[in-house]
Subunit: 210 residues, 2 copies
């Protein structure tokens, strides 16, 4: 009999869409996967640009357990200030086999007391914020601490979810998903991290992030 | 004065979410960008897994022009059999500066008569289908034919959209977006194309695709 895998993707206004959809597209390929997009209330949730709405099919009240919890970044401060959000995340995390954050999602997990120390990844621009929680910002693209996997900014969720897929199932299954999404990336430029981008590009991007 | 850039993302039941959201996350970062998710009718559109709904804010009838048109893949046959869909795509394509397909989106563009020959990229498993339209399947991750840019499977839309961003604006702008999404990929495995995946992984993935 095939294992059943309940995946909960936490969504909220202002999240970065690719943070959620990258891991979703991978984890839905796990054998027996069911995915729920969970928000405070059911209904459409407006994401990063205000141009896109993702639909939450279930509310916090309806979800008490998940095998895999995905916490995307974006407007993380709105969640970090919401005690009910943090309580829900703590409660679900207590039931998971894996908890995955992407980008500034790790700040939300730190604010929830799910990440309490050690190393975690986050968006490069938010590394200092992690330190305020006593967490050391990792420079790695994917960082694991027990059952908690943290990814660096936005697109790093894809690498992290493939890593998680192999841990949850096996490498062959993860490779099938990688082949399905034809993930053999060829970035046309070399500016994906502050270590490789030019000072001008870093300065312009910081303005955009404000 | 900043240029205004109207981006239309074509959505339909059964599309592959990452095909649409990868390019969306990049193109929304272009200066002056507005993005519309366009479907046959307004409202929620169920995508690949049935677990996710994206919200269409406008219908075909409401959109007559776009500077950039994005056509994701997924359940491409449903669109290839829909004359009204193909007519809408032809009409919008006639008004664009750039038309971008991802994955089997290039099959839809070929069925619409937008791609009529030459080379185009598509999902590796769909290369033979392109030939039926007199189009040579490219093995490149991103292929350009005039104002038409075609990406290989799913995740290749990210590389293609960054390429498009540089063509539409300049390389520095594209690099800022690359840095924003921290796109310095590190796939944990080496199975992203049929040329690098093992025969067992290819066979399992073909079953999954059926």
């Amino acid at each position: 009999m095939e294992a059943s895998r309940a995946i909960a993707v936490y969504i909220y206004p202002g999240l970065t869409a690719l943070d959620a959809i990258g891991p979703y597209e991978i984890l839905r390929g796990l054998p027996g996967a069911t995915v729920q997009f969970v928000a405070q209330e059911r209904g459409p949730v407006t994401v990063d640009s205000t141009f896109l709405r993702l639909h939450a099919d279930v509310s916090w009240d309806e979800v008490k357990q998940a095998d895999i919890l995905v916490v995307p970044g974006g407007n993380a401060p709105s969640q970090m200030r919401n005690p009910a959000a943090l309580a829900w995340l703590r409660q679900i995390h207590a039931t998971t086999r894996w908890t995955l954050s992407v980008c500034t999602g790790s700040l939300i997990l730190a604010a929830a007391g799910v990440i309490t120390g050690g190393e975690a990844a986050t968006h490069w621009s938010a590394r200092d914020h992690l330190r305020r929680f006593g967490v050391t910002p990792s420079r790695a693209r994917v960082t694991r601490q027990g059952k908690i996997i943290t990814a660096a900014g936005v697109s790093a969720g894809i690498d992290a979810a493939l890593t998680l897929a192999a841990l949850e199932c096996d490498q062959s299954t993860a490779e099938c998903i990688q082949l399905f999404i034809e993930y053999a990336p060829q970035p046309p430029f070399y500016a994906g991290t502050p270590e490789t981008a030019s000072p001008e590009v870093i300065a312009r991007t910081r303005l955009f992030l404000k």
